[in-house]
Amino acid sequence: MTTAPILEIRNLTQHFGGLTAISDFNIKLKNNQMAGLIGPNGAGKTTIFNLVSGFYQPSQGEIFINGKPTAGLKPHKVTALGVARTFQNIRLWNQMTVLDNIKVAQHGKLGYGFFDALMRTKVYRETEDRINHEAYELLKVFELDKFADDFPTNLPYGLQRKLEIVRALSEKPSLLLLDEPAAGLNTVDMHELIRLIRWIHDSFDVTIWIIEHHMDVMMELCDELKVIDFGHTIAEGPALEVQKNPAVITAYLGDENI
């Protein structure tokens, strides 16, 4: 039996006006894989994530999640196919408690509607009890339960990053996109984060795709790396090989023969 890859991108190209942000990008991610996407600033990494999560519609090419095409779907529908993501700049709902941040992320599979909310029907009460319980349990697993009633802004930066990952994970995704999870973290927090991501990868049945600038993070975490520059894929393969690839070194450090 062959199972469809978790994520498959075929010939993805994206234009913004006259600018080609992504050209002919391809990738296949298997179940429970941990892959990385690197490239200099402005290479188009976040654009790829935006395309995968449905925030942009691709100019050309196809994206399949669990074998299903995402063309024409709004982001919340793409999320329902099993994608969850974090953002480069933390985007938590800051005037909502930590617990509510997790609960609202269950919006797509609430299973009750407007009138249930007003009439407080049985399905409403059961659903609310269930997601309340689940959200609390999830926070407990990540040792965030003591902040359940706090607002995210009152949490230290490292914990906000962590909470955003937990919120994404609460969607029970099969593909988790982490957009620069280590940005702005100090060395201690960064090692904590690497442990966290590794632990998530081991404990949950989830494929993780990471954008990151810190090469040491990528070296420690990812089996496979893809390097893009100006929207073009310039290298791919196991992390150690990619690191030695002259094209990658040129892209990051510049050409020595100038």
Binding site: T46, N50, F55, F87, Q88, N89, R91
Partner: protein, 303 residues
């Protein structure tokens, strides 16, 4: 047939000139502060009253000839109206901004300022309408069946001149550049050493001065003044500014002229009670086709 069309175009241009001149103040303030200055329509009304008092004073008490009175009324009104606009900003808006109030609280304050201007006027001067004195003798010209007055032409020419002057100020002068810079990035501008408060004052002064100009022209064209005259025309001018693409001076003028044209057209074809109904519907249709307005640029969300 052709005469009727040209006749209506002239009427539309004149009627649109008022909207355009008022829309401009909305658009400039919005561009700089993202504040919908809902008091602006009433600033226009105040401008019309200021010109009334200035003109009456000059004509009746000082007995100067009409054209001298007009030549004096225009700068005096523009200056005084600018002062009204700037005072609103200094007294009501700026302290609120300083306190870090939500943007919409400033908008509500602007609404309240408009109400105060309207009703204070009503309370002080009473409900009786004021008749604007005739400053220049109106000549009616008739060329090939098209009638127009010197006043009508003057209104249109003034509005177009105002457009070029403002466009020049905004694109070519240092102050204008600072204005545009503020609308791009409110936080970086003070760091570059640009005195943001002075720029805001200049913006309010310019916008209000041109509302004052619109006030004079309106009072001369339709010489009946009443306190509520600014409210409806102000709301409409605001919508015109948005249809043109708020924040853009060309948009304000285009929007104003479009609104003027639609209204004149409606009145030419339908009973005049349908004017607001159809005019607003047309504007809504334009907005739903081009939500950012004709000259507006869609803001892209970055993630």
């Amino acid at each position: 047939m052709l005469e009727i069309i040209i006749q209506n175009i002239i009427n539309a241009l004149q009627w649109g000139s008022f909207y355009a001149l008022i829309a401009l103040g909305y658009t400039m303030v919005y561009g700089v502060l993202t504040l919908i200055n809902f008091a602006h329509g009433d600033v226009f009304m105040v401008g019309a009253y200021i010109s009334f008092f200035t003109a009456t004073l000059l004509l009746s008490f000082l007995g100067v000839p009409g054209w001298v009175a007009l030549a004096l009324t225009i700068p005096i009104t523009m200056m005084l109206t600018a002062m009204v606009g700037v005072s609103l900003e200094r007294i009501a808006y700026r302290p609120l901004r300083r306190k870090g109030a939500h943007r919409l609280y400033v908008v509500i304050t602007a609404l309240m300022c408009g109400l105060i201007l309207e009703h204070a006027n009503l309370a002080i001067l009473g409900a009786s309408r004021k008749a604007f004195p005739e400053l220049i003798t109106t000549h009616v010209y008739n060329i090939g069946g098209i009638t127009f007055t010197n006043l009508k032409l003057a209104v249109i020419v003034t509005a177009i001149l105002a457009f070029f002057i403002l466009q020049w100020i905004v694109t070519k002068t240092k102050v204008g550049m600072a204005m545009r810079a503020i609308s791009y990035d409110k936080f970086a501008v003070p760091l570059m050493g640009i005195p943001i408060d002075s720029i805001i004052v200049v913006t309010f002064a310019l916008g209000s001065a041109f509302a004052g100009l619109a006030g004079i022209l309106f009072a001369m064209s339709y010489p009946i003044l009443e306190p509520y005259m600014g409210a409806l025309i102000g709301w409409k001018a605001f919508i015109a500014a948005v249809v043109g693409g708020i924040g853009d001076i060309r948009g304000a003028f285009l929007g104003g002229f479009i609104l003027g044209a639609v209204e004149i057209l409606v009145v030419a074809v339908f009973p005049s009670t349908y004017r607001d109904l159809i005019a607003f519907t047309v504007l809504l249709i334009i907005l739903s086709i081009k939500p950012t307005g004709l000259f507006g640029i869609a803001k892209t969300t970055k993630i």
